[in-house]
Subunit: 260 residues, 2 copies
């Protein structure tokens, strides 16, 4: 079963070109991460953007310029071990590629940021059903009217993901995700979508709509797509990221990420 693969075996399959699909649900229990690779001279401003906005952009690992082997996955190679990359030039999507050996330069700094897969596993384990998983859909994501704290050329609205649940499960979900401060932590909002500038829950800006049942409240968590928008806002000559859903799979286990 794909979900029973170890992280290192999954990375090996990817590197050998034998795995070309999204990493969602694969090597379950291992921490998956958003990838951002950008030039050294923008690295301070971007790291500061992440530090200033830790809920949408929790930093799992940052590599020295020119390095590709993360501390959270010894032996891995960030240039080859994701199934699909996006290459942006001057803020525009230029290409989607299966490795970035030819694009990676000595002055490039790689950032790995937490993603919500880890806390979704923890919710399930705690008996809190996750609608997007139940319906086998991509989570619903929305651009809010809240601005992140900018840093140098990086700015973005806060993007959130939404999961609907009954109030008693919403309380449990808040407790569980609080422990996962490196994968977006506790919700940033619940209830009225209008409060945070969302006009129609049925029309997410990214991902797919999910069913909201009677008596359920929408819970909103900070979302990693925020970092992608910030990266694009800076219109750097070159930026490399993962393609949505094609994440980097680290050797860390979800429970190693928790604060307590």
């Amino acid at each position: 079963m794909n979900k029973d693969l170890t992280a290192s075996r999954l990375r090996e399959l990817i590197r050998e070109g034998q795995w070309k699909t999204p990493t969602t649900g694969a090597a379950q229990g291992y921490v998956q991460a958003n990838l951002v690779i950008l030039p050294r001279d923008a690295a301070f401003d971007f790291l500061l953007f992440c530090v200033r906005n830790p809920k949408p952009c929790p930093v799992l690992d940052v590599l020295e310029p020119g390095q590709w082997e993360p501390k959270i996955a010894p032996g891995a190679d960030l240039r080859t071990d994701l199934p699909l990359y996006r290459v942006y030039m001057d803020g525009k999507l230029e290409d989607e590629v299966e490795d970035v050996m030819d694009l990676f330069r000595d002055d490039m700094v790689s950032f790995l940021l937490g993603c919500s897969f880890s806390f979704e596993n923890a919710l399930i384990a705690a008996g809190v059903p996750v609608r997007n998983l139940e319906e086998e859909k991509n989570v619903s994501m929305y651009i809010t009217n809240r601005e992140c704290i900018a840093s140098g050329p990086f700015s973005a609205p806060l993007v959130v993901s939404m999961r609907p649940m009954k109030p008693e499960l919403a309380v449990r979900a808040t407790q569980v995700t609080t422990r996962f401060h490196l994968t977006h932590g506790a919700p940033v909002h619940f209830g009225s979508p209008g409060e945070i500038g969302i006009t129609d829950l049925g029309a997410p800006d990214f991902g797919e709509p999910v069913t909201i049942k009677g008596g359920e409240v929408p819970l909103f968590w900070a979302c990693g797509v925020t970092s992608q928008m910030a990266v694009l806002s800076a219109k750097l000559p070159i930026v490399i990221t993962h393609a949505p859903g094609y994440m980097f799979v680290s050797d860390m286990r979800d429970e190693q990420l928790t604060l307590f």
Copy 2:
């Protein structure tokens, strides 16, 4: 009473030259912070050092190059609002001064890092006595045999502070400080000092020794002095820090720092 001053009034007194003593115990309940000011070209490596070692070096605020007004204290001026500064050149202490108006440059980046005063207040509030406060001494601090994760020219051993207590209070102290992840968080060690390279609890590397009573266990927390050692290790042309005990007092309240 000094402890009842507001943070902004205390900063005003300092700026006007009417307060020249340590800030320990003053404006109680407001978050105090370690200050590090260094040139822009070392800022990425230092910020990354902090991100990689969040227990000793928790980031509260980082200012844009040339800026001196922190977000966590609107109206404050980092060049004048600490009672005493240290100026280091090429890794050596050059001077202690009461303001740094003449030294501050457009390319300088200011970092404010969490300090343990916040969680000491919380321990007291939770009924956990703090020996160094009881004995009116500076906390005992030790250089350990654990290395921080280096970043560029910044490296340091982990420095810890030690507070002795009975096991049941040690459990309570661990719970209470877990909530304060931006002021060093939960202990990094307890019990045998030899495990982390400390040979004599009676001879701390910084601060003063405190009484350890029968049945008490030493608890060790990551300490902000670690960041000072990292800063010196880089031997930068110029670095400005607070003088020990003469901290920056922000407008944030201790309880605003907690994760939950």
